[in-house]
């Protein structure tokens, strides 16, 4: 099976401070569903940031979607990010854009045609049950609704890999279930690789998944 992520002796740190991830070795198969757990401050979000190139490795090698992220150029990083779907804990929606335009963002960046973009956005809004809110701005929505918008945005361009940082952290049961269903659907139907950083793995998971745990700067698969 193809590997979508390969990390060898990977070390991560913020500005030469204490190393957060220390010489970790792991790989993730294409099309798999992966949970990464760990205590607060263990380095889960740091690892996720490194996977979309917001934090560069200080040591070792990290290859995501065939792109080596250590010393990556900005054009290569943009190329990689165009094929990623990212769900942030704090949603990261553009406040001055309607939710419709927020969902359109990756489609615009990837140069999709207007009609394709509109159809895709309509379909996603239906999936996240926000069709009636299309013209609203992020701050007019609840936290759960904003996270559903962020999820729709991450799915919009059929990415090869979705990275989700505690996507259901502060959400009600309804929104949480909706998000897990969307992630499972993308993994099952589109064979999208999903990596979710979370404190708790939901008990309702229907798809097979792998579980990695971070402790003391090391990443280990939990079998």
């Amino acid at each position: 099976m193809d590997k979508v992520i390969i990390a060898e002796n990977l070390s991560l740190a913020y500005s030469n401070d204490e190393t957060i991830i220390n010489k970790a070795n792991f790989s993730i198969d294409s099309g798999s569903f992966v949970f990464i757990t760990g205590a607060s401050g263990s380095g889960k979000s740091t690892l996720l940031k490194s996977l979309y190139g917001a934090l560069k490795p200080i040591e070792g090698s990290l290859v995501v979607g065939g792109v080596e992220l250590r010393g990556v150029s900005s054009s290569k990083l943009n190329f990689l990010r165009k094929h990623l779907g990212i769900v942030f804990q704090d949603y990261k929606l553009v406040k001055e854009w309607t939710i419709e335009k927020n969902i359109m963002l990756p489609l615009i960046i990837n140069g999709y045609e207007k009609t394709v973009t509109q159809n895709q956005v309509d379909s996603l809004l239906k999936h996240v049950k926000l069709r009636h809110q299309a013209g609203k701005y992020p701050l007019e929505l609840s936290g759960g609704e904003q996270q559903r918008v962020a999820m729709a945005r991450a799915l919009a361009h059929n990415p090869i890999l979705i990275l989700a940082d505690e996507p259901t952290g502060n959400l009600d049961d309804y929104s949480s279930q909706l998000i897990w269903n969307l992630l499972e659907g993308a993994n099952e139907q589109l064979k999208t690789t999903i990596i979710v950083v979370t404190h708790h793995i939901p008990e309702t998971m229907k798809v097979d998944y792998k579980h990695y745990h971070i402790e003391f700067g090391d990443i280990r698969e939990v079998i």
């Binding site: 934090l55 553009v94 854009w97 963002l105």
Partner: protein
């Protein structure tokens, strides 16, 4: 309303730059027109023992527009009481030759000094009267006026640039988040900055149009035209094509620089 406020601060800053620039242009044009007027009414008087070769003198300096001999008749008329016709004829021969040297433009004191020396080098020329005292005073007055206006315009531009830098920080704060989010989804720099550059161009166009309206109105006021005609000059206060294009160019360059600073100063969130 929010969108209007977004534009207002940069538009006002750009307007003040364009206003200073146009005021400076008007003063330049007024001084040039006034100098031209002065040049028309200004001439040097050259005194020579014998007739000079006018063509040779004309070749000596590009500044000289024409050289005309002043007829001695008027001087003789003043003296002719009780002088016989023969003596008058003799006087006409023995009197030195006077020439009026007109210049192409109003010279600086330096140019005038050089020209005087150049004329005196000619063997037959004995004296050159440049009326330099009056000339220097007028020239220095014009220079002073121009300097005062330049300092004023420069001060306004500096203050405005400081205002623009303050605006830059607000813009940076306002656009940073959106640019970071777009970057996280792989948007190239030009796409991330597109909104910013569009806003900058729109503001530059708005400021130029407003300046166009203001100066078109001011140039149509008869009161202003009267003031200029009172000092004997007539100038184009605002050239609707040339001046507008200059204004548009300046405001686009300034606002694009502002947008470029923001783009260059943008740092991705970690």
């Amino acid at each position: 309303m929010k969108s209007f406020k977004n534009h207002l601060s940069l538009v006002i800053a750009l307007l003040s730059i364009l206003f200073s620039l146009q005021v400076f242009t008007i003063v330049e044009r007024a001084i040039d027109a006034y100098k031209e007027n002065l040049a028309k009414n200004y001439a040097l008087v050259v005194v020579a023992q014998k007739r000079v070769d006018v063509d040779k003198l004309l070749e000596k300096s590009e500044l000289i527009a024409s050289i005309n001999e002043i007829s001695p008749d008027s001087i003789i008329t003043k003296l002719n009481s009780g002088i016989s016709k023969q003596n008058i004829a003799l006087l006409k021969v023995t009197l030195p030759k006077f020439y009026k040297v007109k210049l192409k433009r109003y010279p600086s004191p330096n140019e005038l000094e050089k020209l005087t020396k150049l004329l005196l080098r000619s063997q037959s020329i004995e004296k050159v009267e440049a009326f330099s005292k009056t000339h220097d005073t007028t020239y220095k007055l014009l220079l002073l006026f121009k300097t005062v206006i330049s300092v004023f315009a420069f001060t306004v531009i500096i203050v405005t640039i400081l205002l623009i830098f303050k605006e830059l920080r607000i813009w940076q704060f306002k656009h940073n988040e959106r640019m970071s989010i777009m970057g996280l989804f792989g948007a190239p720099v030009w796409l991330r900055s597109a909104v910013l550059f569009r806003l900058a161009i729109v503001d530059a166009v708005i400021a130029s149009i407003l300046s166009f309206v203001i100066f078109s109105y001011l140039s149509s006021l008869s009161w202003i035209e009267e003031q200029f005609s009172n000092i004997g000059i007539s100038i184009v206060l605002f050239d609707k094509i040339y001046d507008f294009l200059i204004m548009l160019g300046v405001s686009i360059v300034v606002s694009m620089l502002l947008a470029t600073f923001i783009v260059l100063g943008h740092k991705e969130e970690v």
